[in-house]
Symmetry: C2
Subunit: 329 residues, 2 copies
């Protein structure tokens, strides 16, 4: 079992080395390249590029062929984080000051832009010509969709009438598409069959949506220790998560409805009210509903996993799906 953790770390290390190799030359201007390096140094899970490598491997391709494309997907992801942090006015990311906080907004806008440019340059330089169009269009679609998703997200901030379907569309674009496209890029480079591509697409999508719903849920249930962040942050900040939208449908008594209306009116709640709301959510079965949904996506991913060839990458992919959709912190 621990073998999988080890195998994941090995792929992660391939990614880290390739990221480091991307910035060996001294590039100018410093005021953009230093923030870019700073941001990339704070290593995340590297989930998306690892999924690219796994997708290449599972369909029988050479994972090294997908390495640069995988890193470009990680750069694309980091570009969105740098820009999102400006819009969300987030001071901290991965335990360190965000780019616009450490420097300023202009530097954050531009270093995000430049990182995206490097992502495109590297993937265009590297992708083998047999399937350049599929790979580049998939990569570009991920970029377009993530922008559209963030557009919906900032639009929803000022609305109280967001439906559950609209919320799903938003997280599909903002979070799931990049994960899905990361797997598709890997599949194309591994020369996957159309059926395998279809399976990778559904796995990626399910994993992406499930990942976000899990994130919403963990905001309310995880202990500070394990999760490393305060409980109910989304409620305090007025984020219209899956759980809030479910509460809107499920709450029946006046007290809980009034509190929910206060959340919408004030764009967030105070500390004690947060716990009150969480209690209402628990008693109306909102968390149970969320777990049900996550389970639905988990099963969908697992069913489609069976359509892929049996090999070590398939086992690793199963491990990743389990890790992500069944994590408790």
């Amino acid at each position: 079992m621990t073998d999988y953790k080890q195998k994941y770390s090995e792929l992660q290390e391939l990614i880290e080395n390739q990221i480091a190799n991307s910035f060996l030359n001294i590039e100018q201007p410093d005021n953009l390249y230093i923030p870019i390096r700073y941001f990339l140094e704070a290593k995340g899970k590297r989930l998306r590029p690892v999924l690219t490598l796994i997708a290449t491997g599972v369909v029988g391709g050479e994972i090294m062929k997908a390495l640069q494309a995988a890193v470009s997907l990680e750069f694309l992801h980091n570009f969105t984080l740098i820009h999102d942090d400006i819009m969300d006015k987030s001071p901290i990311r991965r335990g360190r000051p965000t780019v616009h906080t450490k420097w300023d907004e202009s530097v954050a806008i531009l270093s995000g832009d430049l990182l995206l440019g490097i992502a495109f340059r590297k993937i265009i330089e590297d992708v083998p010509s047999d399937y350049y169009k599929e790979v580049l269009l998939t990569f570009t679609d991920a970029f377009v969709e993530v922008c559209e998703g963030q557009g919906f997200d900032i639009d929803f901030e000022n609305r109280t009438d967001v439906s559950f379907e609209q919320y799903l569309l938003m997280i599909e674009k903002k979070t799931a598409k990049l994960i899905e496209k990361a797997m598709l890029v890997g599949g194309y480079i591994g020369n996957a069959t159309p059926n395998q591509i279809e399976a990778l697409k559904i796995i990626g999508q399910s994993l992406g949506i499930g990942f976000q719903l899990q994130d919403d849920l963990l905001d309310l249930t995880a202990s500070v220790d394990k999760f490393g962040k305060e409980i109910g942050k989304d409620i305090r900040e007025g984020k219209k998560t899956f759980l809030i939208l479910q509460s809107k449908e499920l709450f029946k008594d006046d007290l809980s409805i009034n509190l929910l209306n206060k959340f919408f009116a004030n764009k967030g709640l105070q500390d004690e009210e947060v716990f009150e709301l969480i209690n209402y959510m628990a008693s109306y079965g909102v968390m149970a509903k969320a777990k049900e949904q996550i389970n639905y996506y988990f099963k969908k991913a697992m069913t489609n996993l069976e359509k892929l060839p049996n090999n070590e990458y398939k086992d690793l992919l199963r491990y990743v799906i389990e890790k992500i959709l069944q994590r408790e912190y």
Copy 2:
């Protein structure tokens, strides 16, 4: 002679139609697509995409094959303008409120990002596979260089020690590269020979640098009527243009040097001081020096023009070079 103006307008119209056709489908979210359409509606000269078409035509290619790539270059240019306007805090562009002024910064960051995504999607979908790599890398290099150039530009704002060479490198990246790459993309799609590519490169570069120097100069000499903007805006705003850097080298007496130091210390000058500085510049021959430089780039472009085949597009390109580098407003 007026034929050229007519011919330019025809190419411009091809571009306008293609831009309009790019947004025929109703796309969501509105909070990004409406600002994008709004920004593109304010028609500029469309210099870059017209140069792409001319470059394809002059080397004997079919200009319609380059139309989508040309429009992607215009989108790339507009993406840089939307983001630059945020950083420069510019309220007005092409006579209308800028995106971040009419909406807000988040919308401007994201709609710029999305427009860039559309630019990549369209050029990748469309570019013929024979030379996809050259075209896409050229396009991406333009994107990377323009970010680096803007990085230097915002860095220079806080420095008083910018050398003339550093200034040239900055405008080469920020302004000239996009014009140069627009011509190269056209050349590749027109299946240009290596010698023709080399000539197009030098013409684009000369035109780009000359264009920016001309812009710097016209800020001081154009009449409000013709140029449509106030004289000395760059000096008021503290921009370290070619003329300021030349002044630093040429000014000899204390009064003029003191005024220049005041410009650097206060990041700009007041109205009456602006005219005083312009007078010093005139008497020390700063404008003459600028005209000399512009003339150098003009001649370089013209010399290299002779390396291209004789045809109507060559005549049109000559007209454009003359128009841009010899304009007086």
